[in-house]
Structure formats: C-alpha cells, structure tokens
C-alpha cells in the first residue's frame, strides 16, 4: 500500500476527469482530504479577446468552439444576445428547432456523463452501454445538421437547416428506443450495487452551501435546490413546452446520477412535444451585419447548468466586449467543498460528479510534502482510479 500521510497531491493540470485541464491541489491527512485548491486556465485560449477582433458572423463559429460538448448552448446565448440588441423577432419554427437541439445536446451530454461516471468507479460496462446509445443521438444530430459535434446550426435570426418529415420520423423512432434504454439506466442507477456502494453518501453538498456557492444545474438540483433556467426564465420555445424540474435531496453523487437519468426522460418528452407541435413557416429572419450600440445579457440551461453570456456592442460589425461564464466555472467552488472530508479514493467520482466536460483523464503527480521539487513518484489518473477501486475492494469487498 502506498504511504500517503501528510501529502499534498497536485492533480492535473492534465485535469482529472474531464475537460478544461485544471489543477487541484489536494491536501491529505492519511486517507482523508483536508483541503482542496483549484487552479484553472490551462485551456485559456483568449477567446474573449479574439471575439473582439472578429465580426459577428465569424464569432458564431468561434463561440461554437468554446466547448465541444455543449456547443449549441453557447451559440444559443450568443444569437439571443445579438437578436436582443438588433431587436428582431425570429420565426417560431426556428425557436422550436433550437429547442430541439438544446435537448438533443442534453441527451448526449447526460449519456456521456453516465459513461464517464461509470468509468471512474470501475464500471466500464456502463461506459460502453451509454456511449453506444449516445451514438444514436449523434446520428440524429448528424442527420439534421451534417455534423456530429459542432453543428453550425444557429445563425443570427434563426437556424440554418430545416427539419424534413423524414427527419422528424427518425427522431421520433429513436426517442422510442432511447426511452427504453433510459428506463434500463434508471433500473441500473437505483439497483446496481457498484453504483450504490460508490456513490451514496459521497461528495456531500448541503443545500444551503450549494445556494451560497451559486452551484448550478444538476449539481444544485441534486442538493434539493429547485433551479432551472428553462422554467425560471424561459428562452427559445421552453415557455410553451411542458416539463418537470427534477430535484433530489440526497445531496450526493448518487443524487446527481438520479437527476441526470430522470432528466433523460424529460428531454425525450420535450423532444416529442416539439416534434409533434412543430410550427410551419420560415426558419430564418434577415439580420443586418452591423449591430447598433447596446448591451444584452442572456442565459440558458446548458446540460451542466446555467450558462451566462454578456454582450456589449458599439455600432460596428465587431463586439466591444463579450463575456462568457460556463456552468463548470460556477460549480468549481462546490467541488472543493464536496472534496473536504472525503477519502482520496472518492476524488475521481466527486470531480466527475459535476460533469466538468470531457477531455483528458490523465496523470496525477504525487509529491512528498516539503520536497516539492523532487517528485516522489508518478501516479497517473488511471492508477488513482484503480487505487480507488482496489481500496474499496479491500474494505470488505463492498464492490465485486
């Protein structure tokens, strides 16, 4: 067994679970995490400055590439902001297609998260299952837009591609299959011993702390905080779409699992509603290239929570200032709160629990305290993951 008393572990920068390489310095007392500090910015690409140097149409493609998983939410916020300042009304059909994409994105993102969470707790079967089903969502996205990841669907004034009857039929057929699979995952989430053993009571975030630290999305909803931008400040076509906001009060990783599984059903129902009530008409309103002086704030419910953008225009064809706050940024403070008092073996699943965007499960450098320049040995993320699984196996074989 590795000796781990009184050590500081910098995890990252090749980031623990997922996207946005970030660095967690975790202070340990034996097995327990005493403190966790976060350093981000390894993927800082200077997008906010780049936006100021490009015109509004070019920026669509740049903003889409803020994140490869929730790319549509970002462009959705951007076009909402620009449309607010231009004061143009976009066609209803375009609103519905946008909402469809927001929900398809949520479906694929949640399936992706479940796979990653399964991987982190040593349950790779779940990873293979959910990612296989996720491909079906990707197929729909590709069928409509021609792209699997960055769809380039949104444009100022509407959307760029229409939905044909054939596509509608295929979407509805896929939803029937996905609903069956979602029911299966629900079964797995509440009955599977591996998940119960590794997720229940792990990574506790109390409701009052979640509120205080402004947690968003499924992370907040799993702590019983009833917040959902789709309902509280409806954008796109959410105002005339019936759906439920899922909350649980278990406040742990298990709760986050359940919230995401149940949200799959809500998304499937929303997509059905949208497809059955799709209005006819145009999909795009004409928009000028220059945007008058003004400012706008827009937020949407991304798969990971509230995503807020601010735009300030100056009358030219380039923005004056653009600000983006992604949901992961809002949940970072909550992570360090969740990590305090837990075991090192639980770090992977807790960090993955907020769904910090996919990317680079990699290495963790273990340093003996006081000798920060002389690495003791290298412990990569894979080892830490296996260590977690083994540690639990030794604790009375709680997982098989």
């Amino acid at each position: 067994m590795i000796w781990l008393a009184n050590v500081k572990i910098p995890i990252g920068p090749q980031h623990p679970a997922l996207k946005e390489p970030e660095n967690f310095t975790i202070t340990l007392d034996g097995e327990k995490v005493v403190d966790a500090d976060i350093r981000i910015g390894y993927t800082h690409r200077g997008i906010e400055k780049l936006i100021e140097t490009r015109n509004y149409i070019q920026n669509l493609y740049l903003i889409e590439r803020i994140c490869g998983i929730c790319s549509f939410t970002h462009t959705q916020n951007y076009v909402q902001n620009v449309e607010t300042i231009l004061n143009i009304q976009i066609p209803r059909r375009a609103e519905y297609i946008r909402t469809l994409f927001l929900e398809l994105e949520r479906l694929h993102s949640h399936l992706l998260w479940m796979g990653v969470a399964g991987h982190e707790i040593g349950f790779d079967t779940l990873f293979m299952y959910t990612w296989q089903d996720r491909e079906l969502v990707q197929d729909i996205l590709e069928f409509i837009s021609g792209n699997r990841v960055n769809y380039a669907m949104n444009t100022i004034g509407g959307v760029r591609r229409d939905i044909s009857e054939d596509q509608k039929k295929k979407i509805l057929e896929t939803m029937i299959y996905l609903e069956k699979r979602a029911a299966y995952y629900k079964e797995v989430a509440v009955n599977e011993k591996t998940i119960l053993a590794r997720c229940q009571g792990v990574g506790i975030l109390k409701p009052e702390i979640a509120l205080k630290l402004s947690a968003v999305g499924p992370t907040a909803r799993a702590s019983g905080v009833d917040v959902d931008i789709r309902r509280d400040d409806p954008h796109a076509a959410y105002a005339d779409t019936p759906f439920q906001v899922i909350t649980t009060d278990t406040c742990d990783v298990f709760g986050r699992f359940v919230v995401r599984v149940l949200e799959l059903f809500e998304s499937i129902n929303i997509i059905r509603h949208l497809m059955n009530n799709l209005p006819t008409g145009e999909i795009k309103a004409k928009a000028p290239r220059k945007v008058p002086e003004g400012e706008a704030i827009s937020h949407t419910e991304a798969p990971r929570g509230e995503d807020i953008h601010y735009l300030r225009s100056n009358g030219t064809d380039k923005p004056e200032r653009y600000k983006v706050r992604t949901p992961t940024m809002a949940n970072l403070l909550s992570i360090s709160e969740m990590l305090k008092g837990t075991y090192l073996a639980d770090v992977p699943i807790i960090v993955a629990g907020i769904d910090p965007c996919m990317g680079c499960m990699d290495r963790v450098l273990v340093l003996k305290e006081g000798k920060e320049n002389q690495p003791g040995y290298l412990l990569d993320w894979e080892h830490l993951r296996r260590y977690g699984i083994q540690w639990y196996a030794e604790k009375g074989g709680r997982i098989q």
């Binding site: 920068p13 090749q14 980031h15 997922l18 996207k19 390489p21 910015g41 390894y42 993927t43 800082h44 690409r45 200077g46 997008i47 400055k49 780049l50 140097t53 493609y61 740049l62 590439r65 803020i66 994140c67 490869g68 998983i69 790319s71 992706l112 293979m128 990612w131 296989q132 491909e135 990707q138 699997r148 990841v149 960055n150 965007c357 996919m358 990317g359 680079c360 499960m361 990699d362 290495r363 290298l378 990569d380 993320w381 894979e382 080892h383």
Partner: protein
C-alpha cells in the same frame, strides 16, 4: 530482433491522449473510437494513462501557452521510438484560435508530428484511419531502415 519489435508495435500501438487546450470536440471523438460501434481495440489500440507506456501520443488542441511546457515534458517522458498524431484543425494549425495571445498554433510548433487528422472535429472513423495510416508509415519506414 527489430523485426519482432516492429511487429509487436504494429499489432498493439498503445496511445496516450493529451488535451493541449482543445474545446473537447476532438477529445470526445477520440473516446468514441473505443466504443463497440467502431472498436479501435481490434487494431490493438489501447488508451493508456501514462506517457511511459505509450507508443503514440494523440494530441488535440491549439497548444495554449500553459500547456506548451507540459506537452514537451510528456513527449520527453515517452520511450523511443515515439510517434505523434495531431487530431483536429487546431492540432494541425491552430485552427480558429490562430492569432490569440496565448495560443502557440498547432502541435508541430512544439514537438514533431508524424500524422495529421484534419476536421473540426474529425469523425471517429477519420481518427482510426489516421492511426492506421500512421501504422502503415511506421511499417514502411522500418523496411527502408533495413
């Protein structure tokens, strides 16, 4: 002896995936090559967590200033012979982020690259195709050495 080593390397290329500031689009597509639909493991491809076990470094992203040194360090830790695949438009040239103050612009600005897979992001089948082409290149290069 080298024949056996090359044969083994061609049949089981172990890869290390590294995100150097990518938007994640390429990263999820790389992982999507591992799922049953495409099953990159049938080529013996295995995703490893540490550079010391890897033959091929699969990089994504335009290399941010902060990741530059780290990318070099990872590359140095890999055993010889080593190969690098740059996945995506950003990895190939800096892509859409070209000209930013903290982006180097392409993996080949920092370490030598053996194969490029263009696309934003490339489809998983394109990534597998890139890997297979790299393997063919290794085989060819080995013949020339003899």
């Amino acid at each position: 002896m080298t024949g056996i080593v090359t044969w083994a390397r061609l049949k089981s290329p172990w890869i290390l995936h590294m995100n150097c500031g990518s938007c994640n689009g390429c990263d999820i597509e790389i992982l999507a090559t591992l799922i049953p639909r495409l099953d990159a493991e049938r080529f013996g491809v295995l995703l490893k967590g540490t550079p010391r076990h890897a033959d091929i470094l699969v990089c994504t992203g335009p290399v941010t200033t902060q990741m530059k040194e780290r990318l070099k360090r990872i590359y140095d830790q890999m055993p010889e012979p080593k190969f690098v695949v740059a996945v995506g438009q950003c990895g190939s040239s800096g892509g859409i982020y070209q000209g930013s103050y903290c982006v180097e612009g392409g993996i080949d600005k920092v370490i030598p690259v053996d194969a490029y897979v263009p696309g934003c992001p490339p489809r998983p089948d394109a990534i597998i195709d890139g890997l297979v082409k790299l393997l063919a290149k290794i085989k060819e290069g080995d013949k020339n050495d003899k």
